[in-house]
């Protein structure tokens, strides 16, 4: 596949296919965005890059699958998100290690270790085949001949709501301010009496719940497997990197761009080579890398 061929393929495509691609890309991108925002939240409050973020997402999807046969879908999904949030808090406690003696690099290794452990446990509990569950609706809407699965709309809507709520939480509430304070000046936060470890656990809990939320909502339209976590973590990290690991808004945007780029590769790449799917992630990462290069000429404001 050469670049001119790809451009030609894109140019040939009709608008409808493009719109369809955008719809799908936006919804997977939204889930990436949630994972990206989670990376930002933990990195800002603790300086830790949490590579178990993908594991939180997978746990959310798999727990919902496990519960959905016995409970109404909304309840199963809510329980999954809350439980993953609690697991996230415990996880944060472990990842922080010993006060003053565990470096953030050591914490990063701990997160990798736990991510491996989690995916092994998931393999034992759920087996190695992909899972999914029925979404909110069997039927789809059709707008201008573009098929929109309501689940896509749900993922995109919930994501933007979650991102806005999180921004509001950080800016307007005292707990959110305390989270920002730990991120800004951890010693000063300790000196005013804030228990940094417990605030960190909140950051982990919220991050875990957000990541889980994205994948709980996306599972019906894709599927989730015990080893999906690596790809999710890579995508989420790329989205966060787009925001310099500190900006929630840019991480959100980065997630959307990634989702769209990957769908474009899948849909139009197929016309050039039948192995396009294999290059989905690689191509999207190249796009985000170029965008980060372009963006890094400007200073990123933490938000």
């Amino acid at each position: 596949m050469t670049l001119p061929q790809l451009v030609l393929a894109v140019a040939e495509a009709d608008v409808r296919t493009l719109l369809q691609t955008l719809v799908v890309g936006l919804s997977t991108g939204s889930a990436f965005a949630l994972v990206g925002i989670s990376f930002v939240l933990i990195f800002r409050t603790t300086g830790i890059i949490n590579f178990a973020q993908g594991a939180f997402a997978v746990m959310g999807g798999l727990f919902t699958v496990g519960l959905v046969d016995d409970l109404p879908t909304w309840l199963a999904a809510t329980i999954a998100v809350v439980v993953v949030g609690l697991i996230g808090a415990v996880f944060g406690f472990i990842a922080m290690g010993f006060r003053g003696r565990t470096t953030s690099l050591a914490s990063l290794i701990i997160t990798l270790g736990i991510a491996l452990l989690v995916s092994s446990l998931e393999l034992l509990a759920f087996g190695d085949r992909p899972h999914n569950y029925p979404g909110i609706s069997e039927s789809s809407w059709t707008v201008w001949d573009v098929v929109i699965n309501p689940q896509y709309a749900l993922v995109a809507g919930v994501t933007i709501l979650a991102a806005l709520l999180l921004t509001l939480l950080l800016r307007k509430t005292i707990v959110g301010n305390a989270l920002v304070a730990c991120a800004d000046q951890v010693r000063a936060a300790e000196l005013v009496g804030i228990n940094v470890r417990s605030v960190t656990m909140i950051a982990f809990a919220v991050s875990a719940a957000l990541s889980a939320l994205g994948w709980v909502l996306l599972t019906p339209v894709t599927s989730v497997n015990y080893d999906s976590d690596v790809a999710i973590a890579v995508n989420g990290f790329a989205a966060a990197a787009f925001g310099g690991l500190v900006s929630i808004r840019l991480a959100y945007l980065g997630g959307l761009l990634l989702g769209i780029a990957e769908q474009l590769v899948v849909v139009y790449g197929d016309r050039v080579t039948d192995q396009a799917r294999q290059y989905e992630l690689a191509a999207a990462l190249i796009v985000i890398l170029l965008l980060i290069g372009w963006r890094s000429r400007h200073e990123v404001e933490p938000a």
Binding site: A178, S198, V199
Partner: protein, 253 residues
């Protein structure tokens, strides 16, 4: 506050080597000495930021050695850290409110937040009081603290500490990096605070002249030990102090 034979070590390096000092309610005491004498280490040990290797710290006769910074804050000792360390991305007012929130913290944030919300009215009154004491902060309340001048940031840091209603304010390097006229204003403010509100002051300072002007008594810390102590007037007359800290200002720094 009484400190008895305190030792602070970082690995094999001894930063504070058996220091004893005391501070009465409402007193103004300075701790001077060259860079690396252990002033900040001593202060951080008093405030619970580092655990002392030996010795004890007592507040109102109660042994608080090795307790968390939060526990010390609740007993009425709050530190204004070196280099101010405001929360730069948060507005000035949020910086101040976090001073009150931190005081409500014990272990976890849920009960801290409940206590904070219950005390809301009281905290608002305290905030008004701090704005009355430091009127410049009221003007700056919505500005991110990182976008204010050095002197204003020092006011934010002091205001934030005052929100915890301390009986002792431990200030690490009041004058560092600030213009003399700003330092003058801050030191007048601290004298007034001490006189009107009875807040005791422990000032760690390299600028001995300022320390003697502001405080009644002083300790001179050298190589982790108290080399001299006395009233500001006595120390100001002392030849060694004069040579090392006043005449050839910061010769050892």
């Amino acid at each position: 506050m009484e400190v008895d034979d305190l030792v602070v070590q970082y690995g094999p390096a001894v930063a504070v080597d058996g220091v004893s000092l005391e501070l009465a309610a409402g007193e103004r005491v300075a701790l001077i000495g060259p860079n690396g004498a252990g002033k900040s280490s001593l202060l951080n040990a008093l405030c619970g930021l580092v655990k002392p290797a030996a010795g004890s710290v007592r507040i109102d006769g109660r042994n608080v050695t090795g307790q968390s910074p939060g526990a010390i804050v609740r007993l009425g000792v709050t530190q204004v850290p070196e280099g101010r360390q405001v929360f730069p991305t948060l507005p000035v007012e949020a910086n101040l409110l976090l001073g009150a929130y931190g005081r409500d913290f014990r272990r976890e944030p849920v009960s801290a937040t409940i206590r904070y919300v219950r005390r809301r009215g009281q905290i608002q009154q305290r905030l008004d009081r701090v704005y009355t004491l430091l009127p410049a902060l009221r003007e700056l309340r919505n500005r991110p603290a990182g976008q204010t001048s050095g002197g204003e940031q020092q006011m934010v840091a002091i205001g934030r500490a005052l929100m915890a209603e301390p009986r002792l304010l431990a200030i690490d390097e009041l004058s560092l990096g600030l213009a003399p006229v700003v330092v003058q204003a801050l030191s007048e403010f601290l004298l007034k605070l001490n006189a009107d509100e009875g807040v005791a002051i422990l000032l760690v300072e390299q600028n001995a002249l300022l320390a003697f002007e502001l405080c009644e008594r002083a300790y001179v810390l050298e190589a982790g030990r108290i080399a001299l102590e006395g009233t500001s007037a006595e120390l100001g007359e002392n030849e060694r102090v004069h040579a090392a800290y006043l005449g050839g200002l910061e010769v050892e720094a």
